[in-house]
């Protein structure tokens, strides 16, 4: 296990480093010199050169990369060419918001999917079980942003029950914080919940066909008890894998939902960066998102190994 963990950790670090190269190279392709852009059309070549030196963009790309990536390791994302503000604090502020959004959405998805998926599997021959499958199919087919727009329309605009958007920090008012996040959580969670329901259903169905469930019943357990005690943990192994993949999906799905609900998260920062051609900012946000996905994969792999003694 320890050996596995070390190996997996090494892969994580290596992947992140390679991802860093990719992101840096990609951003280097962006047309336009940051110094020229910052100074405008009629800037003198001397001024541009001076600013280049100040930004450090006059150095060879390899040096720039090492400087940038080395900074990342210490949490230093550099200083924006456009806003002259340090990027690290901006990203960490936004990361917290996005993390809350994504984890909440995930919680909603799990809260929906586990009971519904299990129910649909247990009752897969009943009309009700089939109905859940059908509804989950439809849920998958609805884009998250459309779900968001509809939720706002119904709960905020028509019912006036919840705010239509915005984000209130938890420190300002825990109640408002919760209210401001309910709809975004739902719009992320409902759709992902539908996807997850199908996986839970199929995982539980698979488990229900397993011999050890019959063994458990032969021991004297009822079918529900057998499923509960022996089935769910086994079914959770494939579900955890999907959950990890979904967390990555949600992280990106949050970009769109942040737009719908006016939430100042990482996605919002990314789109701002693109619109304002804030090279370093985009680079930083993309790197954080990619690293997050890699980290999630890592955690899922490790969780997988912890859950399944066969892999230890």
């Amino acid at each position: 296990m320890t050996l596995y963990l070390l190996k997996r950790l090494a892969v994580l670090v290596a992947s992140t480093a390679v991802a860093g190269v990719v992101v840096f190279a990609f951003m280097a392709l962006l047309p336009g010199d940051p110094a020229e852009i910052a100074l405008g059309v009629n800037a003198t070549p001397e001024a541009v050169a001076a600013l280049r030196e100040q930004f450090g963009t006059d150095r060879p790309p390899v040096v720039q990369f090492l400087d940038w990536f080395g900074g990342l390791a210490q949490g230093d994302f550099g200083t924006s060419y456009v806003t002259s503000a340090p990027i690290g604090p901006q990203i960490s502020d936004r990361l917290g918001v996005t993390a809350v959004l994504v984890l909440g959405g995930m919680a909603v998805a799990v809260a929906i999917a586990v009971p519904l998926g299990t129910f649909a599997a247990v009752h897969h021959r009943n009309p009700l079980g089939a109905a859940i499958s059908a509804v989950s199919q439809i849920g998958i087919a609805i884009p998250a942003f459309l779900a968001g727009i509809l939720l706002v329309f119904v709960f905020a605009v028509k019912a006036q029950a919840l705010p239509s958007g915005g984000y209130v920090p938890i420190a300002d008012s825990p109640g408002e914080w919760l209210r401001s996040l309910l709809l975004p959580w739902l719009s992320l969670g409902l759709v992902q919940g539908a996807v997850l329901t199908r996986y839970v259903r199929s995982a539980v169905l698979d488990v229900m066909r397993e011999d050890y469930l019959r063994t458990a019943r032969a021991k004297g357990r009822g079918s529900t008890g057998a499923l509960w005690r022996h089935g769910l943990r086994n079914a959770s192994i494939p579900v955890v894998t999907v959950l990890g993949l979904q967390l990555a999906t949600l992280l990106i799905g949050a970009v769109v939902v942040e737009r719908v609900f006016v939430i100042p998260g990482l996605g919002d920062l990314l789109l701002n960066g693109v619109a304002g051609r804030d090279l370093l900012l985009v680079q930083g946000v993309v790197m954080v998102l990619v690293a997050a996905v890699l980290l999630i994969n890592f955690v899922v792999d490790v969780a997988y190994h912890l859950l399944d003694p066969r892999l230890r």
């Binding site: 047309p31 336009g32 852009i37 405008g40 059309v41 009629n42 456009v82 806003t83 002259s84 503000a85 901006q90 502020d93 936004r94 727009i149 706002v152 905020a156 605009v157 006036q160 919840l162 705010p163 239509s164 958007g165 915005g166 984000y167 209130v168 300002d172 008012s173 408002e176 401001s180 942040e258 737009r259 719908v260 609900f261 006016v262 939430i263 100042p264 919002d268 920062l269 789109l271 701002n272 693109v274 619109a275 304002g276 051609r277």
Partner: protein, 500 residues
């Protein structure tokens, strides 16, 4: 009146859906609960990148800070007239080269420092020395600024200029404290009725009433400026009570939602924003006047305004808004006439690139323009570019486009056509001469010259003017003091109040 550079186009930022998100809680913070404290929350579309408008382009900063936090010697009123602000009055010498400003007494900066003629000298000198914006060239005409006594400042021009005093009403005339410019990007220090209370990046800026304000104290104790990138999100925020005012409606078809007079009010006025269908005069096919004229004939402006912007706004025929003294109705110059357009094209088919900013009005208008141009044989390929960065780079700076659509929001901006390096690539020396003589001539000469210039632009079909952008404000019932017209750089909060 040489106005060049990025500032003019980034003025479009005012209309950009390019800022960070806003919040939801009504009324913002302030000293809620305290008696007589009133707060108001206003939705905007473009969040400033920082708060230093002396070094950062874009309309978002002066929109929030000018008049409200920073004040100039003069300001523009609702009708576009120049009225006193920090200057009680001013006198112009007979040769129109010397301006003597008499300052209000007892004015203090929010830092506590007194405002005197020394600060006038400091601020105006600083424009030349430290400002990084292209528009600072507007004050190149200033020869020297002197202090006569604490409340008298004298500005001497190199030559008479009609544009000088107008420029003083823009951000260029903002008065800074000699001790308050160390961190302009984060800590603005001005004499205005409001001070910066807090700034939550990506969400909102909060202004609080300045307790030691020299003039009439504002009715509100604080104002929250909330930033929305998405028009629908801003509408929803007003509908659900998240904000009190939408400063500029970006989805005019949605106004029907606010029709209930018991809940909402709509203010509709005019702006300086000419939505221009720019044509690249510097390269084929639109270096040919006939082709440009064909475009102007091919566009049914009335239908365009009706479909693209819900019929809100006004049709104009040249680069002059109706609020300028030299306005003439030029909409009759090129009436909708597709047959004539085809004739001008001589039966040829043109394939052109229409590279537009990805802003709501531009994307909507472009689709109408494309459809109408297709009727006369001009095939326009629409390419939306991220605004501001990519549009500025590709279209504005490199001039790599045939057609574009952008709202030129800055006041009195006909001069941009005089610069042949400007992205229109319009080159008519006669036009330049007219503008130069207008700036140095008498007021009446100025008006006549500019009328002629506007006609020349229209005749030359230097561009096509799709419509004048409307000032559309929606607010909760009971909010008063909303500016009817948006013809200055700032969103003036000073008269804003809320009926109890």
């Amino acid at each position: 009146m040489r106005r060049i550079g990025i500032w003019i186009a980034t003025g479009g930022l005012l209309l950009a859906t390019a800022a960070c998100g806003g919040g939801s809680s009504s009324g913002g913070g302030g000293d809620a609960g305290a008696p007589k404290s009133q707060t108001l929350s206003v939705g905007f579309v473009a969040e400033p990148a920082n708060l230093d408008f002396t070094s950062t382009e874009g309309a978002a900063i002066p929109q929030a800070l000018l008049v409200n936090v920073y004040e100039g010697l003069v300001k523009l009123d609702q009708d576009g007239k120049i009225v006193p602000l920090l200057a009680e009055k001013w006198e112009v010498s007979p040769d129109r080269k010397t301006y003597t400003f008499t300052l209000h007494d007892n004015v203090k900066f929010s830092s506590g420092a007194p405002f005197t003629a020394d600060d006038v000298v400091f601020s105006l000198d600083r424009v030349k020395a430290d400002w990084k914006l292209k528009i600072k060239s507007q004050l190149d005409v200033v020869d020297k600024v002197e202090k006569k006594d604490d409340t008298t400042a004298v500005v001497t021009l190199k030559k008479p200029s009609n544009g000088f005093l107008y420029s003083m009403a823009t951000r260029l005339g903002a008065m800074f404290s000699r001790t308050g410019v160390s961190d302009l990007a984060n800590k603005p220090v001005g004499t205005g009725p409001y001070t910066l209370a807090s700034w939550r990046r990506g969400d909102s800026i909060q202004l609080a009433a300045n307790p030691s304000y020299w003039g009439t104290k504002p009715a509100l104790s604080s104002i929250t400026l909330k930033y929305f990138k998405d028009a629908t999100a801003m509408n929803n925020a007003l509908l659900t009570g998240g904000i009190d005012v939408i400063s500029s409606v970006q989805a005019p078809e949605s106004l029907q939602q606010f029709a209930d007079p018991n809940r909402f009010q709509t203010v509709e006025g005019t702006t300086n924003g000419e939505v221009v269908l720019s044509m690249n005069n510097g390269r084929p096919p639109f270096n040919d006047k006939k082709a440009r004229q064909a475009v102007r004939y091919a566009i049914d402006h009335k239908a365009l305004l009706e479909t693209a912007w819900a019929g809100r706004g006004q049709l104009i025929g040249s680069m002059v808004p109706p609020t300028d003294p030299w306005y003439e109705d030029r909409t009759g110059d090129y009436p909708y006439d597709p047959a004539k357009a085809k004739e001008l094209l001589g039966g040829k088919t043109l394939n052109v690139k229409m590279r537009i900013p990805n802003l709501p009005y531009a994307v909507a208008s472009a689709q109408v323009v494309k459809s109408q141009l297709a009727q006369v044989g001009i095939n326009a390929d629409i390419e939306p570019l991220e605004f501001p960065a990519r549009w500025l780079d590709q279209v504005f700076t490199k001039g790599d486009y045939d057609l574009s659509i952008i709202n030129h929001v800055e006041p009195r901006d006909m001069g941009i056509f005089a610069d042949k390096s400007y992205y229109f690539r319009y080159d008519n020396p006669e036009f330049g001469k007219l503008l130069a003589s207008a700036d140095s001539g008498t007021e009446q000469e100025q008006t006549e010259d500019l009328k002629t210039a506007a006609k020349l632009l229209s005749d030359d079909a230097a561009a096509d003017w799709l419509f004048l952008f409307p000032n559309l404000i929606v607010a909760k019932k009971g909010v008063t003091g909303l500016p009817k017209n948006a013809i200055s750089e700032s969103f003036d909060f000073t008269a804003l109040a809320k009926q109890q």
